[in-house]
Amino acid sequence: MTQDMIDIVGPIIPSLRRYARALLRDAVAADDLVQDTLERAIGRWHQRREDASTRAWLLTILHNLAINTMRRNNRRGVAVAIDAVEESTMATLPSQEAGLAQRDVLRAVAQLPEDQRTLLLLIALEGVSYAEAATITGVPVGTVMSRLSRGRERLRRLLAEPGETAARPMLRSVK
């Protein structure tokens, strides 16, 4: 079992870390979440269905743990300093040329309701299929589609709000 598990799970870990970081927007908390996920996965390895995708199975464990973590944080009212955190999680600094500034997008994603945010990240970031997303979040595929649709539209509106663009630094051309 051991080698089997190392070979299958090892290559999935980077993707779990990415999803966790996007969900929690905190690199340390995200890795803690992945660690909890892996510990559970080791304990329940024999319960895994051979025919199902191991990645979807791991994401399901992670999703359930993440929901608890996020609700706990929410209850404590811990306000994550978005500006401080996002800078460190960003791959590249936002460029004015990019179609959408990453910082604005991440800020808007953070404002989505939890159910829409998790689905959007699973699908857009991790590229899971709609059927897998339904399994992971425990809702029917129809609900996945409607939440995804609502999430994307809400994100679009958030990004179109004038307040968002006004906060952006202005570039002035200097002659």
Binding site: G10, R17, R75, L121, R152, R156, L159
Partner: protein, 260 residues
């Protein structure tokens, strides 16, 4: 050709369509510039999210997340179970002693009723007193729009829930609202019988105390309430009824909450 649905457009963004269908959607978008702009925005969103986290994949995985090490540690952990158990027992005894002493000292100035189920019971009774007695506008959203009510409360509490159905006990939903408490927002659902409000159900996330707590009876200002907490969500069922009449209603609420 099948008409283009919203699901087709979402799947277009995600590259989840067959080649044929993909081409059909592309044609449709060519003919509908407004839709094309919207879908273009979705694709830009997706790309921005991907770009923001792309580097995580290339980062070295921290040592704590090495799966081989984790499996090995777990195995050793089993062999050393007895030693660990003893250490654990010793640690628990030490913590209990510290906790007992500290708790005794804290007790003098930190009132225990400010948290956990007693606080929830007080908040439930206070909300009942304010809103159930209100003859003009007891609820913000009425029972006829219960889906919107459930969505609203769920999104503010960050927890999917629905107004319990108490018709089995003869009480019909009047509606509900969001109410402030010392522990953040709470959902309040009001129920009535023969046009009079008689039951209020208060739901909110628990703080650090009583995250899982058995149902118990509290009395606040002459109002009986049953309060409990499951998985960090606290419930209070309150009304000017005898405790014996309130208890089955609380049981029904708890049973439905467990199913959602």
């Amino acid at each position: 050709m099948k008409p283009i649905s919203d699901s087709d457009l979402q799947a277009y963004v995600d590259g989840a369509l067959s080649t044929v269908r993909h081409a059909e959607v592309a044609d449709y978008l060519d003919a509908h510039p407004m839709e094309a702009a919207r879908i273009g925005d979705y694709i830009a969103q997706r790309d921005a999210v991907r770009a923001a986290y792309a580097s995580v994949i290339d980062e070295a995985v921290p040592a704590e997340l090495n799966i081989a090490t984790m499996i090995a540690t777990r195995r050793n952990g089993r062999n050393g179970t007895v030693v660990r158990l003893m250490q654990y027992v010793a640690a628990v005894i030490a913590l209990l002693l510290i906790g007992g002493v500290t708790g005794w000292q804290l007790n003098t100035w930190n009132h225990p009723r400010d948290a956990g189920l007693p606080a929830l019971a007080r908040e439930a009774a206070a909300s009942y007193a304010v809103y159930a007695e209100d003859t003009h506008r007891p609820v913000e959203i009425g029972a006829n729009d219960s889906a919107a009510l459930n969505d609203w409360i769920s999104s503010r509490l960050n927890h999917r829930l629905a107004a319990p159905d108490l018709s089995g006990a003869g009480f019909s939903l009047i509606g509900g609202r969001l109410v402030p408490t010392d522990h953040g927002p709470a959902g309040l659902f009001l129920y009535g019988k023969r046009g009079r409000t008689q039951i209020a159900v208060l739901v909110r996330p628990m703080g650090a105390v009583d995250r899982n707590a058995r149902m118990r009876l509290e009395h606040t200002d002459g109002l009986a309430s049953y309060v409990w907490a499951d998985d960090g969500i606290g419930y209070g069922v309150v009304g000017p009824l005898p405790a014996t009449a309130l208890h089955p209603i609380a049981d029904a609420t708890r049973q439905q909450a467990g199913q959602s």
